[in-house]
C-alpha cells in the first residue's frame, strides 16, 4: 500500500491509497454537506468528485460558508 501525502486545507494529510475527491470527502464525513472542493486551486464540481483522483502533493481546499460581512 502506497502512502500518499496531500495538503488538505493548509496541512499535510496522509492518504492510505490512491483516492478520489469523493472518497476523501466521504472520509471526512462531509459528503452531504454544503461544501466546495478545489484541487490545486481548480474548483472540482460535485458531479466530478468521483472521477477526480488525487495525486501526491495535490493541494486540496474544502470550504464552507461561515458568518461574515
Amino acid at each position: 500500500m502506497t502512502s500518499l501525502e496531500i495538503v488538505l486545507n493548509g496541512n499535510p494529510h496522509q492518504m492510505q491509497a490512491q483516492q478520489s475527491v469523493a472518497a476523501l470527502v466521504a472520509e471526512l464525513n462531509l459528503t452531504d454537506k454544503a461544501i466546495a472542493v478545489a484541487v490545486n486551486r481548480q474548483v472540482i464540481a460535485r458531479q466530478r468528485w468521483e472521477e477526480t483522483q488525487l495525486q501526491t502533493h495535490d493541494v486540496v481546499d474544502v470550504v464552507r460558508a461561515i458568518g461574515g460581512g
Binding site: L8, N9, G10, N11, H13, L28, N29, L30, K33, A34, I35, A36, V37, A38, R41, V43, A45, R46, D61, V62, V63, R64, A65, I66, G67, G68, G69
Partner: protein, 262 residues
C-alpha cells in the same frame, strides 16, 4: 406603501427588502437566525472559509440557521487582498451554492483601513463578469471608479460610507450623490453604518439599498437593532420618494395667521 416602490431588482431578480445583512460577529447561530429574521432582509452575505478538519461535521452550520430555501445567500470575498484570491474564493462560493452567479466582490487594501484596493477590484471584476458572475462590488466612494465598475458589467456598486465596522456613518454624502446620479445599476452603501439614522440618510440620498453587519451584530440588542434598521431603510426610502422640503435659513409658520385670538 406600494410594492413597486419598496422592491428592487438586482441582476434580473426582484427583492422585497432593500436592507442586506452580513452574518458575522453574532454570539451564536440562534442570534444570527433571529436578527436576520428581524431585519426582514432577503439577501444575506456569507464568508467562504476552509472547513476545520476534525471538527464535528454534523455540528449546526450557518446555512442551517439561514437556509438557502429562504434567503439569497451572497458569498463574499472578505479577507482577500488581491484579485486572484478573490476570484478563487468566488469560484468556490459559486460551486458551494449550486452554481449561483450572484456574489459580492471585495478586494481589500490593508488590514488597518479595510479600504478597497481599487486596481485589484477592477481586475477581479473584469475576470468575474467574463466568467458569468453577477458581481455586486464593494468600492471606494469615487464616482469615476464606480462608473468603471458599472461599465465592466457589475450588477451593483456598493461604495463604503465610512470604514468597515467603524459605525462612523455617512461621511461623504456628496460623493454618494454623485455616484447615485450617474449610476444605471443599483447603488448600495456597503460599510460604515452605525445606527438607524445612518441607514435612513443613505436611503434619503437615493441609495437603492444598504448592506450592513457590525451595526446590527455589534449592537447591545442585535435583534432589536435589526428591526430598527429595517424600519430606517423603509423610512429613508419613503422619504426619498416623498421628496423632502428644501433646507432654507428662514422660519415659516405651520399655522395660518388668520383667525388668531391673540
Amino acid at each position: 406603501m406600494s410594492q413597486a416602490h419598496s422592491s428592487f431588482t438586482i441582476a434580473g431578480k426582484t427583492y422585497n427588502s432593500r436592507l442586506l445583512v452580513g452574518s458575522g460577529k453574532y454570539k451564536d447561530l440562534e442570534q444570527t437566525r433571529l436578527a436576520t429574521e428581524a431585519s426582514g432582509a432577503d439577501i444575506i452575505t456569507v464568508a467562504i472559509r476552509r472547513v476545520n478538519i476534525g471538527q464535528d461535521p454534523n455540528a449546526p452550520s450557518l446555512l442551517d440557521a439561514v437556509p438557502m430555501s429562504r434567503y439569497t445567500i451572497l458569498p463574499n470575498t472578505a479577507g482577500c487582498y488581491n484579485a486572484k484570491d478573490a476570484i478563487y474564493t468566488l469560484q468556490l462560493g459559486r460551486e458551494l451554492l449550486g452554481g449561483q452567479n450572484l456574489c459580492k466582490l471585495e478586494v481589500l487594501g490593508d488590514e488597518k483601513s479595510l479600504f478597497p484596493n481599487m486596481p485589484e477590484t477592477l481586475i477581479a471584476a473584469k475576470t468575474l463578469v467574463a466568467d458569468g458572475f453577477d458581481v455586486m462590488v464593494y468600492c471606494s466612494d469615487d464616482p469615476i471608479q464606480a462608473k468603471m465598475l458599472e461599465d465592466i458589467g457589475c450588477v451593483a456598486v456598493m461604495p463604503l460610507a465610512s470604514l468597515i465596522g467603524s459605525g462612523m456613518g455617512i461621511l461623504n454624502p456628496w460623493n454618494l450623490s454623485l455616484i447615485i446620479e450617474r449610476a444605471t445599476v443599483p447603488v448600495l452603501v456597503d460599510a460604515g453604518v452605525g445606527t438607524a439614522s445612518d441607514a435612513a440618510i443613505a436611503m434619503e440620498l437615493g441609495c437603492d439599498g444598504v448592506l450592513m453587519n457590525t451595526a446590527i451584530a455589534g449592537a447591545q440588542d442585535p435583534i432589536r437593532m435589526a428591526r430598527a434598521m429595517k424600519l430606517a431603510v423603509e423610512a429613508g426610502r419613503e422619504a426619498y420618494l416623498a421628496g423632502r422640503i428644501p433646507k432654507k435659513f428662514a422660519a415659516s409658520p405651520s399655522s395660518p395667521m388668520a383667525g388668531r385670538v391673540a
